[in-house]
């Protein structure tokens, strides 16, 4: 029961999915959810994030929290690519219902070390049935 990232028993690689369903600033689930994802990335598990419902608003471009006096934690999404998180799924139906398109989302990238460090997009927009399939295949589901 140590707090070291290395506490994970070697070989026990599980599929973790962080499911984000809240708008970013009205409450703290979103910010504290990202904190879990960043810590979790150090545990050498297979990590993905899904953005569903109002969670898609977390990835909206142009968030400026200065006047509201809040921390703009969503800037840290740009770091996810460095944290070995290679998949961010955004549900197409949730986007459409809010009148958003891919262009409204932050252009998050990662460098693919298996492909000569080519820059590739982190975000993949997928339909509800494909996402339901993916959720079904996870070992650990954490909701924020």
């Amino acid at each position: 029961m140590t707090d070291e990232a290395t506490a994970a028993p070697p070989g026990a690689v599980k599929k973790f999915m962080y499911i984000n369903r809240r708008a970013p600033h009205g409450g703290n689930y979103a910010q504290e959810g990202l904190e879990v994802a960043l810590i979790g990335a150090a545990f050498d598990q297979e990590v993905s994030l899904a953005f569903i419902d109002d969670g898609v608003f977390q990835l909206k471009t142009g968030q400026d929290t200065a006047a509201a006096g809040l921390k703009n934690f969503t800037a840290a999404f740009a770091a996810l690519g460095d944290y070995e998180v290679k998949r961010i799924y955004v549900e197409a139906e949730s986007l459409a219902r809010r009148g958003l398109t891919a262009d409204d989302l932050m252009p998050l990238m990662y460098e693919d070390e298996d492909d000569d460090y080519a820059e590739k997009p982190l975000i993949e927009i997928i339909g509800k049935d494909a996402l339901a399939d993916l959720i079904e295949r996870q070992d650990v589901l954490l909701n924020f």
Partner: protein, 101 residues
């Protein structure tokens, strides 16, 4: 096969709607806390839930129904009422658990 839990009233929040949209056919859905209101036979979500149940199995916690004065006879057909032991048993029988708040 996953166990999905829903603890919010569908009249107030979108949790049940999202659960039905993103739970694969064959899943189990367990209504807990205010989630049990979804199963009211005369309620506005009865048809949507009944439709989702054609491919999914629906459960509700007895203690949460009782606390809210909901008689199992007043629920949509096919809801299985279980206690917390049944909840634990469901969680062990399913591969994982997804909680929709």
């Amino acid at each position: 096969m996953l166990l999905h839990t829903v603890n919010k009233s569908p009249f107030e929040k979108n949790s049940l709607d999202t659960c039905l949209r993103l739970s694969a056919p064959g899943s189990c859905i367990l209504l807990i806390e205010d989630g049990v209101y979804a199963a009211l036979a005369g309620g506005a979500f009865a048809a949507q839930l009944q439709d989702g149940m054609r491919a999914r199995k629906l459960y509700a916690i007895d203690a949460d129904l009782q606390a809210r004065g909901l008689d199992p006879a007043g629920l949509i057909d096919g809801v299985e009422v279980i206690d917390y032991r049944g909840f634990v048993e469901l969680a062990t029988r399913c591969d994982q658990v997804q909680s929709w708040f």
